[in-house]
Symmetry: none
Subunit: 237 residues, 2 copies
DNA sequence: CAGTGGTCTAGACCACTGG
DNA sequence: CAGTGGTCTAGACCACTGG
């Protein structure tokens, strides 16, 4: 594998930021300084910095400099980046803690969506760097879940484990207040704001194969949607 | 406003792609051709192409070329629907009640986004069938808003009134609790959950022309996002 | 093989920030 | 004002695709 210089520089800078070499909101060395430090051209330095900006780690202002971003976790829907990947780019380890794993009778909503009576239900907590950032419940038809182990669902994204090809998903995003159980798991006060997402995942033939509900504490999470065409702008107007 | 060459080129190429000059999946001219066509350096041409790749319009393969992206994922992703659109489809009348209309000095966030000191600020309440469902504040540069009247912004979506062509927008979606003033306007209890969206709307050259904040009561609103591609499914896993 | 995109250099001019 | 990032040029070498 050829070494890509701007990626090496980006990785090194990320390490320095994560190590706390620069304060949150603090300035990085100037591009000119970095050029000398890394022995690379300014274009290459900027390319590294832009990739870190893309990851939400740093930002810049013309005439001022590059500084450590003090952003929230952003889930950029349109760019299809995963929250875990963004976290990984910041050097934060993602972890799934399984709270509950078992076959149950579907409730009304699950039956309505998946069209079966018996389902595998998995409840879990997603953590990033040891901090809980999502409480998730996933349901899938019992026959599809028959071959899955508790260790499987802890180690892999659910949809990667299913013996079907995923064709798409529909996700709703709503606001709610933290219920006592979720508040405790997510380490936030009861009644604090949360984002609540419900997702229906389908196979390539359009059959629903997963239903999941995700609860995020509001102070850690926001969704980002890019609307590249004017038609998208009718959104809220 | 200075003309940014790579944005001009990107806008022109986007127009040619949208006009069907290149078949879906078809090759674009080579970078070398484009440098001659546009009289720009290869770096600038690539920057324009990269921005179109970012938008999901084109893609490339080394040694092969740039081609029109078959999987227009991002465009599909932008198909967000809202309660208002659904209401509109049911024949419920939408109404804008202007709370405040005036030219003010930009606050820090507005200045950061729009890059100007003087702005037109419009606060309004959106109603559907007489029920308030959104409290909205819109800022736009004073020169762009100079020709707008209070009646204009009550009668039309803001972006339709601007003397610029809209190129896209980026919207963040977050959860919060209703503040007293918003609670009263939206007829919900103080501290009840709300969705809070901030949107930056840009012209075709990528210049920000509108900043807006939208507050929706959670019980009336949810966002729906379709994720047609399997890659999109890694979103929260 | 000729042609393509991916990476990189060493310059340049400019707008902008802060003092 | 000196220093900063934003944009742009005209080169270069390389890995890769297809014929």
């Amino acid at each position: 594998m050829r070494e890509i210089r701007y990626r090496e520089i980006a990785a090194d800078l990320k390490g320095r930021v994560d190590a706390g070499e620069f304060a949150a909101g603090g300035l990085l060395p100037s591009e000119a300084d970095l050029t000398r430090t890394y022995g690379a051209s300014r274009v290459t330095i900027r390319r590294a910095l832009e990739s870190l900006r893309e990851a939400g780690l740093v930002d810049s202002r013309q005439g001022f400099g590059w500084f450590v971003a003090v952003d929230r976790v952003r889930q950029n829907l349109a760019q299809l980046s995963t929250i875990e990947r963004e976290l990984a780019e910041r050097g934060v380890t993602a972890e799934r803690q399984i709270l509950d794993f078992g076959f149950v009778t579907a409730n009304a909503r699950v039956r309505e969506v998946l069209g079966v009576e018996q389902v595998l239900r998995v409840r879990r907590l997603n953590l990033a760097g040891g901090v809980p950032f999502a409480r998730v419940t996933v349901w899938c038809p019992a026959d599809l879940g028959a071959s899955l182990s508790r260790a499987d669902v802890a180690a892999h994204p659910f949809y990667e484990l299913l013996p079907v090809t995923i064709g798409g998903a529909t996700q709703t995003i709503a606001a709610a207040l933290a219920e006592p159980a979720d508040a405790k798991l997510l380490e936030v006060p009861i009644g604090s704001p949360v984002l609540r997402c419900e997702r229906v995942t389908r196979d390539v033939d359009g059959n629903p194969v997963l239903l999941s509900v995700h609860v995020f504490p509001a102070h850690l999470t926001e969704f980002v949607v890019d609307l590249p065409s004017p038609t998208g702008l009718s959104l809220v107007e």
